[in-house]
Symmetry: C2
Amino acid sequence: MAIKGKAVVAQSGGPTAVINASAAGVIETALANDSTFSAIYGADNGILGVLKEELFDLGKEDPRQINLLRRSPSAALGSCRYKLKDFDKNKADYERILEVFRAHDIRFFFYIGGNDSMDTADKVSRLARQTGYEMVVMGVPKTIDNDLAYTDHCPGYGSVAKFTAVSAMEAGRDTEALYTADTATVMEVMGRNAGWIAASAGLARRQEQDAPHLIYLPEAAFSVENFIRDVKACLKAYRRCFIVAGEGLRDGQGRHIAEVGGSFAQDAFGHKQLGGAGQALRQIVEQQVGVKCRYNNAGTAQRTAMHFASATDVAEAYMVGSAAVSAAMKGVTDKMVTLVREGQNGDYRSTTGLAALSDVANGEKPVPREFINAAGNGVTQAFLDYARPLIAGRAELEMGPDGLPLYTRFERHFVEKKTGKEYKS
Amino acid sequence: MAIKGKAVVAQSGGPTAVINASAAGVIETALANDSTFSAIYGADNGILGVLKEELFDLGKEDPRQINLLRRSPSAALGSCRYKLKDFDKNKADYERILEVFRAHDIRFFFYIGGNDSMDTADKVSRLARQTGYEMVVMGVPKTIDNDLAYTDHCPGYGSVAKFTAVSAMEAGRDTEALYTADTATVMEVMGRNAGWIAASAGLARRQEQDAPHLIYLPEAAFSVENFIRDVKACLKAYRRCFIVAGEGLRDGQGRHIAEVGGSFAQDAFGHKQLGGAGQALRQIVEQQVGVKCRYNNAGTAQRTAMHFASATDVAEAYMVGSAAVSAAMKGVTDKMVTLVREGQNGDYRSTTGLAALSDVANGEKPVPREFINAAGNGVTQAFLDYARPLIAGRAELEMGPDGLPLYTRFERHFVEKKTGKEYKS
């Protein structure tokens, strides 16, 4: 006997170009199955919206805005970075979540996020079971960092990879044209301790002379000495050097490169400022190699670059959202939808699978050694074969009359609070 | 009696998304008029290529590569930042340029660049006249900074404006979704002492709550005190703050903001490092307002962002290149082609005009006061009306099978050197 009732969908962590496409998959599939889902609420700013009982009725939003989610970056439901209390020491946060769900008769929880979110979802579900509250909890994967285990890749990665590659290609042409003045460029990219985004810049390099010439991933211990040698060799070969650096670069002792590379800095107040990995590399190039070095860091604009997103990524993001709802309707719970690769390069296809929330919560997937070249300064053909299909196709945009894209913003019809309690973190 | 003979085309200064479209306009129009132009050579890396006698025959390139220039960013002929000797004190560089032109019977020089380039072109032409060498010298405007006088706007500006606006819009949605963690964002943009690019971010703001909330241009003296007040007011109104900063921000005494804003820094070698304007603002927000602040700086990727260039800009860039050749065929010389705006917003059209090279060389066009709001922290409707037509339309791309665009790279069939001399700078 399948459960029926209201559903909550929430988005968590850093925005991506396609986390809204996943939300669209959840929302549209739930709205189309109203015999199971009596309502679908959005949690305002992720799990914080549940804790604060700030839920809004997505059935009251303009369906065109929901459809536009597929072509809108960032997190239209709102997101958060909120550290819940430790489940084993203090269940209060999880009990509060369940209290809100009970009060509103929420029977489905769709949580779009990374492994911390899957951990939260898993614990909420466990507590529900323990207290005899029947509900279904499903995870939908999301992270530009691409470091979730049990899934071939993560929605969000294909788009940041496509934007990173085109930016490296374009800025690389800049360095090529102006090598007599701007001889080197360091492009810093996101990814925290994982080098998947840095690696994706390698997709831009069709010929040996093309940027990026050097790519450094956090998975390979960074050596200042080797770096200087690499840059000098590159300048000798091509008269210019385009370098991509993952933000989380560390040396063999695990120290962040900004601590090692001579980019300690003190501000006017005497505070020690740790520059980014790219800033550290730039300083090394300028001071120890002796050529001018540019520094590019798109920052948050890289993860929300819908204007050059991957059509494949958008389609897959929608698919995992929709699949989570379909699985929930069959009574599946405590699972995250995964992406499963089928076929080889030429005929890449993907389908969905399922992984236990608790497994995903405790896993992580760094860039494997076989995707990094022997010198630790570039990627291998195996990586390119893995990543190439993920950036295929240009995602559609809905352009406004002003020459810029139109992106969803919800009206947020909040539902009346029912617990009679304020959440205190 | 019109001149006939060989032509040289050169690109100068910082690359843009459309300087190649201007080159295409020059090259294709010259190749189509071979009764006037017996050959068209590209100078390798701008004026340096002329000085070093490194010229390649564009008639030997694949016409598809020339056509692809319209859809290729950066400077396919190569560019340079090279300071010529002072004409009034030492004519050697100009004499060398003329020596190379004479040796190859070059009768046309098309120079695509900013006001320094127009100055160079003007002096070469003056020297040619003085020495009785008959030739035509035409300038083609180019600068993302949009600060050339005598032209309504500059090719290159519409595209950097479009990319800047979409990046502000997308990263602004990021700040909006994640304001509980990433409350403020500073986006630093190029433009040197001109605020045209910073201003263009204002195109992203359709509603008051939209990013960017605050825009600071070098034309308005920056006050740290007012800035802190602005940011606090913005946080109160919207719970988040998205700030755009022109790289050349200065205070009322003309000091760069990095010197004023507390972002002095010392590296490991004790060198004083002047951070960027955006870094300075970020430090002020974090230390003096007390909220987390992100820093985005696309760097050279902003000026070469062909993947989201303006179709209007590409068409105009081609048009000015082509118009320079048409004018040259009519015997016009010592002029830069300008863009002339016709019609109002709704029915924007542009045509070309002509301005004396010497006038352009000595002019500059900062953002006028009426384009900046009274508080000095945003743009006016008058600016938006000026800029909106320039970003209209998405430029075409030629996509490769690998999901990334195809960009021109020339084979460079160098012509035999004839002066028998090496250039020494």
